[in-house]
């Protein structure tokens, strides 16, 4: 590991107002390459909003987001994804009408073919490489048996894992996870933690939002704490765990 960490994503002086509500103010966040960066904070602190600003879902009121030297602000969401940023949403966004397998294959086409390609004379089922990769991922997540089911019929925990597969198959440089294990059983949460650790060893950068401290402390290299739109603390997990402000605003008696 080099001594000067490479900053892959930089949110610089980001403000976001919803009408009168200040959802984000003066956010300055730097994400180091290859690290897992957790963002925690009370409900309504602005965590999801921050991710939305990064992926271009909502424009910031002021400030900018820079990804690997490219200014993301003003770019369309699909362009931002094409640069290598994928996101898991807080409420699962999957293709409910498609089979589980196709759910995972579709993002792989976006990665390979770019934002648009009129590939009307190729055949999906003959894209062996992509298919194999998708099946492999599903196997890792224990969903291979259900690959031909409609994704809409999955339970909520399964939907979350499916969405994670859809992001992972894109090999993003930066993966944004908004409560990836919410509603997952303890067993599946543990599997997911293992998987996310495995990816980390492959050098993918991750930003993770979680309320489950077990997950946060198992995965995070660094933690930022957001409250009322501001970063109130930032640092290594051990420091955050004992930070009195954080305890009061967020952890309560649950710091375990």
């Amino acid at each position: 590991m080099s001594t000067t960490p490479n900053i892959v994503l930089h949110a610089a002086d980001v403000f976001k107002n919803f009408g009168g509500l200040r959802a984000l103010s003066d956010i300055d966040l730097q994400i180091e390459e290859g690290k897992t960066h957790a963002i925690i904070g009370p409900n309504g602190a602005g965590k999801s909003t921050l991710l939305n600003v990064i992926i271009g879902r909502i424009p910031p009121t002021s400030g900018a987001v820079i990804f690997d030297g490219t200014v993301l602000t003003g770019k369309a969401p699909h362009e931002i994804n094409q640069l290598g940023i994928s996101r898991v949403f807080q409420t699962p966004e999957i293709f409910a009408d498609l089979s589980v397998l196709h759910n995972v294959m579709a993002p792989a086409f976006a990665r390979r073919d770019g934002a648009f390609k009129l590939s009307m004379f190729r055949t999906t089922s003959r894209e062996d490489e992509i298919r194999a990769e998708a099946e492999h991922l599903l196997q890792d997540f224990g969903m291979w048996e259900r690959r031909h089911d409609h994704a809409g019929a999955l339970s909520r925990g399964d939907k979350r894992r499916l969405e994670l597969c859809m992001c992972l198959i894109q090999h993003p440089r930066l993966l944004l996870l908004d409560e990836p294990t919410a509603g997952m059983s303890r067993h599946d949460t543990n599997t997911t933690i293992d998987l996310l650790k495995k990816i980390k060893s492959r050098g993918m950068t991750k930003v993770i939002i979680e309320h489950d401290m077990h997950v946060v402390f198992s995965l995070a290299d660094k933690i930022s704490v957001l409250a009322q739109g501001r970063i109130i603390a930032q640092g290594l997990p051990e420091d955050i765990r004992v930070n009195p402000d954080v305890k009061k605003a967020y952890l309560g008696g649950h710091s375990e």
């Binding site: 009370p42 807080q90 339970s155 925990g157 509603g183 309320h211 649950h254």
Partner: protein
């Protein structure tokens, strides 16, 4: 059937279209008791609660549900609610386009009111502060409070909580835990579904584990907490 059984499921089967989800569940709940309904993802917990609340989906094909001698299985969801079964659904289901207060008023339109608005606001001061805000713009924790409050605004005999802690910050989990404790104290019978089994078992008198739509365990909460084998197999804790 013994007369002190307050609520009972007898061999309940339910389908989502063609797929068979609830596969013959039977259980009994006594008055004033808190029952934890546990199980892995996709085990059918939500489906069971929705069957009890008489949602159209999953469709119940066989079995009986009795609440204080009333045949709940013959009811529609609105009749079940009027009979005192209140569901706090898993994604909270705050009605979009309506304020907090409108959401509460709405739950008092149909007969058998529970708490008055004043009572609710004194228990949930946060909701009182935000009564004119649109419900769906509340943060996750506040939405959860609203969902619980909405159930309490109706007469509750049996409260069904589906993952009430999901997505909530630890401080708020504590807060909701207090509310559930209060509810328990007031003698309302509750079935709680929760992934956070430890938290659920802390409060529960008894526990039931579902596995692929069938009952895998039934017993006291303490028994379950003590049995490492079971815990490991079904709950991974």
């Amino acid at each position: 059937m013994s007369s002190d059984v307050f609520f009972e499921l007898r061999d309940v089967h339910a389908y989502y279209g063609e797929s068979y989800i609830v596969q013959g569940v039977s259980m009994k709940v006594n008055k004033g008791e808190v029952l934890a309904l546990l199980g892995r993802n996709g085990a059918g917990k939500t489906s069971t609660l929705r069957t009890i609340a008489r949602a159209d989906n999953p469709g119940m094909t066989r079995g009986e549900i009795w609440l204080e001698g009333q045949p709940v299985h013959a009811m529609k969801s609105w009749q079940a609610s009027q009979a005192g079964i209140q569901l706090v659904p898993e994604d909270r289901r705050i009605i979009p386009g309506m304020t907090v207060e409108e959401n509460l008023i709405l739950s008092q339109v149909a007969p058998n009111k529970g708490w008055s608005l004043e009572q609710i606001y004194s228990h949930f001061p946060r909701l009182a502060e935000r009564r004119q805000q649109e419900g769906v713009t509340l943060s996750g924790g506040e939405q959860q409070m609203l969902a619980v409050a909405r159930a309490l605004a109706r007469e509750v005999k049996l409260l069904l909580l589906d993952e009430p802690y999901e997505g909530l910050a630890p401080v708020i989990v504590e807060e909701i835990e207090h509310i559930v404790q209060d509810i328990k104290k007031s003698g309302i019978t509750t079935i709680i579904v929760e992934q956070n089994a430890v938290a659920a078992l802390k409060m529960a008198d008894r526990a039931v584990i579902l596995d692929t739509g069938e009952l895998a365990f039934e017993g006291s909460a303490a028994e379950l907490l003590a049995d490492a084998e079971l815990r490991n197999r079904y709950l991974a804790i």
